[in-house]
Symmetry: C2
Subunit: 342 residues, 2 copies
DNA sequence: AATCAATTCCAAACCGCTTTGGATGGCAGA
DNA sequence: TCTGCCATCCAAAGCGGTTTGGAATTGATT
């Protein structure tokens, strides 16, 4: 059943039926009700493809997921972010299209999206230092919002980010206040913008207390359980081991915890850990009482809000770039305690 | 730049330009080259929305992701499956649209997708016992492929699944051969089809050796680190603890391992663990040597293949339902060893 | 030279909706 | 009674492609 057939069955013109269903004022209320009733009766729904062509809007947003040809890691944070963004899109009648492309074709993917008119805007994931995608999208004139920021990029653009620097600064201060002075940082890859900011917060907090960051206690790699474990093992067996760890991801932290326990040390007594908790739905930090002390910020909520910002931007294209900086909570769990006495 | 403008700039009709670009035979080879060159020069790409309306095909596939209003867990396996499927779609010029909907609106979501013509087909995730989605999709006539199977559903449909029963049967036999007789099963929620099949494989293997499955050693819950840990702790402190664990997920297994180590037991010597390894990219089972002995099957590859099956089905709608049963490898890691002597 | 079949191109219809620019009729105001 | 203004509806023109059904040109065949 399409608009034309529905119109015929009602003895009306397609124009009137279309207007009735879309709530335009130039149709009699009685007629409108007749139309709406008939539409429901025939379970008529307007064809998406036709609407898109007629209105010139795609009513869709893309998330481009580059697949690294080398170490092809799908960001575990991604699923929850998508879930959050997806909720927003559903509520607003937008479709979410995921473009999975080899990373060397990412540029072309954005150009395609733009010139074929497949979507009305995009969300940029996992920005890196001096990320080239931002300049590209500005040039293309395709509305976009970045989840995160790109240190080094000049011109203004819309983004939503967690205050990573502040979060890690506070976490470090918290450990310092507990008397820890040898604090290790188990970070993500430092070409990722968030990792750079976290390190900055960490270093700033140490420096402010007159401590000199020890390169041997700063580790940066993919955030997997194995890497976290390996790094922690190495640090713990060193001559002057850390008494506390600041860990960028729950997953790495599972590895760090294992290393700690393997050495017969007790978490929260001998060694403290603070993690950053994205509140991944399949990796809850304890059901009621948090296990890890953590800087916490829901990536799912970030997804919801980033999507909202993008839809705003699409609705008002000449709007100035917006930005939103979310503050992470510092929540106290069972993984931190006073630095052990020597 | 659109088709019409391009045609004018070439002194040709839109018809000819369209045909030239789409490789139809009724256009002179010289003309075709002129057209192709001009298209590239103006970086012309045909408008997606127009193509979709004109051809009546959406060139898109949906994955409906129900968000449980209660325990809203995003399946961690999901990200990698999507990445795999996405690769296939990209290669074939299809878009992947993700519909995130509250689970009580899932039925309506499928109906919408169908009658608005938003997509040409869908992939059904995480089938449950007697999953109603299958009957719905057959009724709607929307092409679909299920990732997994739905025990209890009658009429034929297309699916791709791992041989979960066989995998867990083999894993259990492997443990039995090592002399273990008290083997625990840490399974996923047993309204999920895959969990039912894994339990069946487990029970079958025990029964075949004349052992009676102990209900106290069979656990079923969400597959998180915490739940795995808790279940293992309880079992290990019981009067007659298991000497081996069969664990449905890498994530739960991290918790089980922690429980084992907390008790001062050594993995592979005092207690054995076999996991099912979906080869999640962010949860590698060791870099070179596998840590856990595992039944292994790449969910990413499953995504690739499931998507291929769906595209086939869309291309040949009257094709009989296809199915593909992937066998998991049993790979030997460091987490298994002979049952400890009493 | 006339016929016929390819070859090569084009005009126009169509996909299913939105939207512009009227047309019609009823009613109040002069 | 006539004018003008609403209120209500419709015809037709898009949106940007694809596809059908010729038409014109060319070359081979008789």
């Amino acid at each position: 059943m399409n608009l034309k057939e529905l119109a015929i069955s009602l003895g009306l013109s397609p124009t009137t039926v279309s207007r009735a269903l879309n709530g335009y004022p130039e149709v009699n209320e009685v007629t409108r009700e007749r139309v709406v009733a008939a539409a429901k009766r025939h379970s008529y729904l307007p064809n998406t493809r036709a609407i898109r062509l007629a209105t010139g809007r795609a009513m869709a947003v893309a998330h481009v997921i580059p697949i690294a040809t080398k170490h092809e890691i799908v960001n575990p944070v991604f699923a929850d972010f998508i879930a959050g963004a997806g909720e927003t899109y559903s509520r607003n009648g937008y479709d979410m299209v995921l473009s999975v492309v080899p990373d060397d074709q990412e540029t072309q993917a954005y150009r395609d999206l733009q010139s074929r008119g497949t979507v009305d805007g995009v969300i940029v994931h996992a920005p890196r230092l001096d990320d080239p995608r931002i300049a590209l999208l500005i040039e293309l004139g395709l509305p976009f919002v970045v989840h995160g920021r790109a240190t080094g990029h000049q011109s203004p653009y819309s983004w939503l980010d967690v205050n990573n620097r502040r979060a890690f600064q506070r976490a470090t201060e918290f450990l310092l206040d507990l008397g820890h002075s040898r604090i290790a940082l188990i970070n993500g890859l430092e070409y990722m913008d968030f990792a750079i900011r976290r390190r900055t917060g960490f270093v700033d907090a140490l420096t402010a207390r007159g401590l000199v960051p020890d390169a041997g206690l700063m580790f940066s790699d993919e955030m997997t359980e194995g890497r976290g474990h390996r790094a922690a093992v190495a640090m713990l067996k060193s001559a002057n081991p850390p008494t506390a760890f600041l860990v960028s991801s729950m997953i790495s932290a599972l590895g760090v915890r294992r290393a700690v326990e393997e050495r017969g040390l007790k978490l929260g007594r001998d060694v403290s850990i603070i993690i950053h908790d994205d509140e991944l739905s399949y990796l809850r930090n304890g059901d009621d009482v948090p296990i890890f002390t953590a800087t916490r910020s829901s990536v799912r909520e970030a997804g919801r809000q980033t999507a909202e910002m993008l839809l705003d931007l699409i609705a008002r294209p000449q709007m100035a770039p917006q930005s939103r900086l979310l503050e992470a909570e510092l929540i106290i769990g069972q993984s931190t305690g006073p630095a052990p006495k020597l």
